[in-house]
Symmetry: C2
Subunit: 128 residues, 2 copies
DNA sequence: CCGGATCCGATGTGATACTG
DNA sequence: CAGTATCACATCGGATCCGG
Protein backbone atom coordinates (compact mmCIF):
# COMPACT_ATOMS: atom_id res chain seq x y z
CA UNK A 1 0.00 0.00 0.00
CA UNK A 2 2.78 2.42 0.86
CA UNK A 3 4.25 1.90 -2.55
CA UNK A 4 2.67 3.78 -5.42
CA UNK A 5 0.77 1.75 -7.96
CA UNK A 6 2.84 0.86 -11.02
CA UNK A 7 1.70 2.61 -14.19
CA UNK A 8 1.71 -0.58 -16.22
CA UNK A 9 -0.34 -2.56 -13.71
CA UNK A 10 -3.10 -3.28 -16.19
CA UNK A 11 -1.26 -2.88 -19.43
CA UNK A 12 -0.88 -6.51 -20.36
CA UNK A 13 -2.68 -8.54 -17.75
CA UNK A 14 -6.33 -8.44 -16.95
CA UNK A 15 -7.69 -7.64 -20.39
CA UNK A 16 -11.08 -6.93 -18.91
CA UNK A 17 -12.61 -6.34 -22.29
CA UNK A 18 -11.57 -9.85 -23.34
CA UNK A 19 -12.90 -11.63 -20.29
CA UNK A 20 -16.44 -12.97 -20.36
CA UNK A 21 -16.73 -12.14 -16.67
CA UNK A 22 -17.16 -8.56 -15.58
CA UNK A 23 -17.53 -6.85 -12.24
CA UNK A 24 -19.46 -3.63 -12.52
CA UNK A 25 -18.43 -1.43 -15.39
CA UNK A 26 -15.28 -1.54 -17.45
CA UNK A 27 -12.94 -0.28 -14.75
CA UNK A 28 -14.58 -1.46 -11.53
CA UNK A 29 -12.55 -4.64 -11.10
CA UNK A 30 -9.29 -2.76 -11.58
CA UNK A 31 -10.34 -0.13 -9.07
CA UNK A 32 -11.21 -2.75 -6.48
CA UNK A 33 -7.85 -4.41 -7.08
CA UNK A 34 -6.05 -1.12 -6.62
CA UNK A 35 -7.82 -0.56 -3.31
CA UNK A 36 -7.25 -4.09 -2.04
CA UNK A 37 -4.20 -3.20 0.02
CA UNK A 38 -5.30 0.15 1.35
CA UNK A 39 -6.91 3.49 0.54
CA UNK A 40 -5.84 5.43 -2.50
CA UNK A 41 -6.23 8.99 -3.67
CA UNK A 42 -7.95 9.90 -6.90
CA UNK A 43 -4.68 10.90 -8.48
CA UNK A 44 -3.04 7.70 -7.30
CA UNK A 45 -5.69 5.67 -9.07
CA UNK A 46 -5.08 7.63 -12.25
CA UNK A 47 -1.57 6.22 -12.47
CA UNK A 48 -2.42 2.58 -13.22
CA UNK A 49 -5.68 3.62 -14.86
CA UNK A 50 -4.06 6.15 -17.11
CA UNK A 51 -6.19 5.24 -20.10
CA UNK A 52 -9.39 6.33 -18.43
CA UNK A 53 -10.44 9.95 -18.44
CA UNK A 54 -11.19 11.69 -15.11
CA UNK A 55 -14.85 11.85 -15.91
CA UNK A 56 -15.17 8.13 -16.48
CA UNK A 57 -13.07 7.29 -13.45
CA UNK A 58 -15.35 9.47 -11.36
CA UNK A 59 -18.38 7.74 -12.79
CA UNK A 60 -16.95 4.32 -11.96
CA UNK A 61 -16.07 5.39 -8.44
CA UNK A 62 -19.57 6.81 -7.95
CA UNK A 63 -21.13 3.56 -9.11
CA UNK A 64 -18.98 1.54 -6.71
CA UNK A 65 -19.84 3.96 -3.94
CA UNK A 66 -23.52 3.65 -4.75
CA UNK A 67 -23.26 -0.12 -4.41
CA UNK A 68 -21.59 0.30 -1.03
CA UNK A 69 -18.41 -1.37 -2.23
CA UNK A 70 -16.14 1.60 -1.66
CA UNK A 71 -16.30 4.71 0.51
CA UNK A 72 -15.15 8.23 -0.26
CA UNK A 73 -13.35 10.32 2.33
CA UNK A 74 -12.80 13.99 1.63
CA UNK A 75 -10.65 16.24 3.78
CA UNK A 76 -10.07 19.93 3.16
CA UNK A 77 -6.90 21.51 4.48
CA UNK A 78 -4.72 24.49 3.81
CA UNK A 79 -2.58 22.32 1.58
CA UNK A 80 -5.59 21.75 -0.64
CA UNK A 81 -8.18 19.07 -1.09
CA UNK A 82 -7.59 15.41 -0.42
CA UNK A 83 -9.97 12.68 -1.50
CA UNK A 84 -9.37 9.08 -0.62
CA UNK A 85 -11.24 5.99 -1.64
CA UNK A 86 -11.23 2.79 0.37
CA UNK A 87 -12.96 -0.56 0.34
CA UNK A 88 -15.93 -1.06 2.62
CA UNK A 89 -16.39 -4.43 4.36
CA UNK A 90 -18.80 -5.30 1.57
CA UNK A 91 -16.19 -4.39 -1.00
CA UNK A 92 -13.59 -6.49 0.79
CA UNK A 93 -15.95 -9.44 0.80
CA UNK A 94 -16.03 -9.24 -2.96
CA UNK A 95 -12.27 -9.63 -3.32
CA UNK A 96 -12.48 -13.39 -2.80
CA UNK A 97 -14.98 -14.08 -5.58
CA UNK A 98 -13.16 -11.57 -7.76
CA UNK A 99 -9.91 -13.46 -7.34
CA UNK A 100 -11.71 -16.71 -8.18
CA UNK A 101 -12.91 -15.39 -11.53
CA UNK A 102 -9.58 -13.69 -12.24
CA UNK A 103 -7.90 -17.02 -11.61
CA UNK A 104 -10.26 -18.72 -14.01
CA UNK A 105 -9.53 -16.14 -16.67
CA UNK A 106 -5.77 -16.42 -16.18
CA UNK A 107 -6.01 -20.18 -16.41
CA UNK A 108 -8.22 -20.30 -19.50
CA UNK A 109 -7.50 -17.11 -21.38
CA UNK A 110 -5.52 -19.02 -23.98
CA UNK A 111 -8.37 -21.42 -24.70
CA UNK A 112 -10.74 -18.49 -24.83
CA UNK A 113 -8.70 -16.53 -27.34
CA UNK A 114 -8.06 -19.62 -29.42
CA UNK A 115 -11.77 -20.38 -29.53
CA UNK A 116 -12.56 -16.87 -30.70
CA UNK A 117 -9.92 -16.91 -33.35
CA UNK A 118 -11.11 -20.26 -34.62
CA UNK A 119 -14.74 -19.15 -34.61
CA UNK A 120 -14.01 -15.93 -36.44
CA UNK A 121 -11.85 -17.72 -38.98
CA UNK A 122 -14.65 -20.17 -39.71
CA UNK A 123 -17.14 -17.33 -40.13
CA UNK A 124 -14.72 -15.55 -42.40
CA UNK A 125 -14.57 -18.62 -44.61
CA UNK A 126 -18.35 -18.87 -44.76
CA UNK A 127 -18.73 -15.23 -45.72
CA UNK A 128 -16.09 -15.51 -48.43
CA UNK B 1 -32.00 -32.80 -17.12
CA UNK B 2 -34.83 -34.92 -18.47
CA UNK B 3 -37.28 -32.58 -16.86
CA UNK B 4 -38.16 -29.46 -18.79
CA UNK B 5 -36.92 -26.18 -17.43
CA UNK B 6 -39.49 -24.35 -15.32
CA UNK B 7 -40.81 -21.18 -16.93
CA UNK B 8 -40.31 -19.12 -13.79
CA UNK B 9 -36.71 -20.20 -13.24
CA UNK B 10 -35.37 -16.67 -13.47
CA UNK B 11 -38.43 -14.70 -12.59
CA UNK B 12 -37.51 -13.69 -9.08
CA UNK B 13 -34.05 -14.97 -8.42
CA UNK B 14 -30.87 -14.01 -10.16
CA UNK B 15 -31.61 -10.37 -10.85
CA UNK B 16 -28.68 -10.20 -13.18
CA UNK B 17 -29.27 -6.56 -13.89
CA UNK B 18 -28.93 -5.78 -10.20
CA UNK B 19 -25.73 -7.70 -9.63
CA UNK B 20 -22.41 -5.91 -10.00
CA UNK B 21 -20.94 -9.11 -11.38
CA UNK B 22 -21.73 -10.18 -14.91
CA UNK B 23 -20.77 -13.13 -17.03
CA UNK B 24 -20.88 -12.32 -20.71
CA UNK B 25 -23.96 -10.46 -21.80
CA UNK B 26 -27.25 -10.07 -20.03
CA UNK B 27 -28.42 -13.65 -20.55
CA UNK B 28 -25.19 -15.63 -20.66
CA UNK B 29 -25.14 -16.68 -17.01
CA UNK B 30 -28.72 -17.93 -17.21
CA UNK B 31 -27.97 -19.88 -20.35
CA UNK B 32 -24.97 -21.55 -18.75
CA UNK B 33 -27.10 -22.41 -15.74
CA UNK B 34 -29.76 -23.93 -17.95
CA UNK B 35 -27.15 -26.08 -19.67
CA UNK B 36 -25.45 -27.17 -16.45
CA UNK B 37 -27.29 -30.47 -16.21
CA UNK B 38 -27.32 -31.43 -19.86
CA UNK B 39 -27.92 -30.27 -23.43
CA UNK B 40 -30.98 -28.23 -24.29
CA UNK B 41 -32.75 -27.32 -27.49
CA UNK B 42 -33.31 -23.75 -28.61
CA UNK B 43 -36.99 -23.93 -27.84
CA UNK B 44 -36.29 -25.48 -24.46
CA UNK B 45 -34.15 -22.50 -23.55
CA UNK B 46 -36.89 -20.13 -24.60
CA UNK B 47 -39.10 -21.44 -21.78
CA UNK B 48 -37.13 -20.12 -18.80
CA UNK B 49 -35.80 -17.23 -20.88
CA UNK B 50 -39.19 -16.20 -22.12
CA UNK B 51 -38.44 -12.52 -21.77
CA UNK B 52 -35.71 -12.62 -24.37
CA UNK B 53 -36.52 -12.39 -28.06
CA UNK B 54 -35.21 -15.06 -30.45
CA UNK B 55 -32.79 -12.63 -32.01
CA UNK B 56 -31.18 -11.74 -28.70
CA UNK B 57 -31.10 -15.35 -27.54
CA UNK B 58 -29.36 -16.28 -30.78
CA UNK B 59 -26.86 -13.50 -30.29
CA UNK B 60 -26.10 -14.66 -26.75
CA UNK B 61 -25.71 -18.25 -27.85
CA UNK B 62 -23.39 -17.20 -30.67
CA UNK B 63 -21.26 -15.19 -28.28
CA UNK B 64 -20.96 -18.14 -25.90
CA UNK B 65 -20.14 -20.40 -28.81
CA UNK B 66 -17.50 -17.96 -30.01
CA UNK B 67 -15.87 -18.04 -26.60
CA UNK B 68 -15.83 -21.82 -26.71
CA UNK B 69 -18.09 -22.08 -23.66
CA UNK B 70 -20.92 -23.90 -25.41
CA UNK B 71 -21.20 -26.04 -28.53
CA UNK B 72 -23.97 -26.19 -31.10
CA UNK B 73 -25.13 -29.53 -32.52
CA UNK B 74 -27.49 -29.53 -35.46
CA UNK B 75 -29.18 -32.63 -36.81
CA UNK B 76 -31.56 -32.73 -39.74
CA UNK B 77 -34.08 -35.52 -39.95
CA UNK B 78 -37.42 -36.24 -41.51
CA UNK B 79 -39.07 -35.13 -38.32
CA UNK B 80 -37.56 -31.70 -38.84
CA UNK B 81 -34.60 -29.77 -37.59
CA UNK B 82 -33.07 -30.27 -34.17
CA UNK B 83 -30.48 -27.96 -32.67
CA UNK B 84 -28.97 -28.65 -29.29
CA UNK B 85 -26.64 -26.59 -27.20
CA UNK B 86 -24.34 -28.09 -24.60
CA UNK B 87 -21.52 -26.95 -22.36
CA UNK B 88 -17.99 -27.55 -23.53
CA UNK B 89 -15.37 -28.59 -20.97
CA UNK B 90 -14.34 -24.95 -20.87
CA UNK B 91 -17.92 -23.95 -20.19
CA UNK B 92 -18.20 -26.53 -17.44
CA UNK B 93 -15.04 -25.20 -15.85
CA UNK B 94 -16.75 -21.85 -15.55
CA UNK B 95 -19.65 -23.21 -13.51
CA UNK B 96 -17.58 -23.24 -10.33
CA UNK B 97 -16.55 -19.59 -10.45
CA UNK B 98 -20.07 -18.71 -11.58
CA UNK B 99 -21.54 -20.36 -8.52
CA UNK B 100 -19.06 -18.52 -6.31
CA UNK B 101 -20.18 -15.14 -7.55
CA UNK B 102 -23.86 -16.17 -7.49
CA UNK B 103 -23.35 -17.20 -3.88
CA UNK B 104 -21.79 -13.85 -3.07
CA UNK B 105 -24.72 -12.03 -4.67
CA UNK B 106 -27.27 -14.15 -2.81
CA UNK B 107 -25.47 -13.48 0.44
CA UNK B 108 -25.04 -9.73 -0.01
CA UNK B 109 -27.89 -8.64 -2.24
CA UNK B 110 -29.68 -7.05 0.69
CA UNK B 111 -26.69 -4.92 1.65
CA UNK B 112 -26.26 -3.99 -1.98
CA UNK B 113 -29.83 -2.85 -2.45
CA UNK B 114 -29.81 -1.02 0.87
CA UNK B 115 -26.63 0.81 -0.11
CA UNK B 116 -28.15 1.90 -3.40
CA UNK B 117 -31.33 3.07 -1.81
CA UNK B 118 -29.41 5.01 0.83
CA UNK B 119 -27.11 6.57 -1.77
CA UNK B 120 -29.96 7.59 -4.04
CA UNK B 121 -31.90 9.01 -1.13
CA UNK B 122 -28.91 11.11 -0.09
CA UNK B 123 -28.46 12.37 -3.64
CA UNK B 124 -32.14 13.19 -3.79
CA UNK B 125 -31.80 15.31 -0.68
CA UNK B 126 -28.84 17.17 -2.14
CA UNK B 127 -30.67 17.92 -5.35
CA UNK B 128 -33.72 19.14 -3.54
C1' DC C 1 -6.62 18.62 -7.19
C1' DC C 2 -10.84 16.62 -8.20
C1' DG C 3 -13.85 16.72 -10.61
C1' DG C 4 -18.63 18.63 -13.68
C1' DA C 5 -20.87 19.86 -18.39
C1' DT C 6 -21.59 18.83 -22.90
C1' DC C 7 -21.50 16.35 -27.04
C1' DC C 8 -20.97 12.18 -29.64
C1' DG C 9 -20.02 7.50 -31.62
C1' DA C 10 -20.17 2.63 -30.38
C1' DT C 11 -22.47 -0.97 -28.38
C1' DG C 12 -26.26 -3.57 -26.10
C1' DT C 13 -30.96 -4.62 -25.90
C1' DG C 14 -35.51 -5.12 -27.57
C1' DA C 15 -40.25 -5.19 -30.49
C1' DT C 16 -42.07 -6.67 -34.56
C1' DA C 17 -42.40 -9.12 -38.59
C1' DC C 18 -40.77 -12.61 -41.67
C1' DT C 19 -38.28 -17.22 -43.48
C1' DG C 20 -35.70 -21.98 -44.91
C1' DC D 1 -38.18 -25.54 -35.36
C1' DA D 2 -34.78 -22.38 -35.24
C1' DG D 3 -33.74 -18.76 -36.43
C1' DT D 4 -33.19 -13.51 -39.76
C1' DA D 5 -34.25 -8.68 -41.07
C1' DT D 6 -35.28 -4.29 -39.89
C1' DC D 7 -35.93 -0.55 -36.98
C1' DA D 8 -35.73 1.86 -32.68
C1' DC D 9 -33.87 3.09 -28.25
C1' DA D 10 -31.06 3.34 -24.06
C1' DT D 11 -26.78 3.12 -22.01
C1' DC D 12 -21.72 3.24 -22.06
C1' DG D 13 -17.33 4.99 -22.76
C1' DG D 14 -14.71 8.71 -24.29
C1' DA D 15 -13.08 13.66 -26.11
C1' DT D 16 -13.05 18.10 -25.00
C1' DC D 17 -13.63 21.94 -22.43
C1' DC D 18 -14.79 24.25 -18.04
C1' DG D 19 -15.00 25.17 -12.70
C1' DG D 20 -14.52 25.43 -7.45
Amino acid sequence: MREPLPPDLFDEVCPTALSPVRVGDKWAAMILTCLADGPRRFSELRVPLRRVTPKVLTASLRALERDGLIARDETRAASGRRVEYRLTPLGESLLGPLEVVCGWVREHIDELLAARESFDAARERRTA
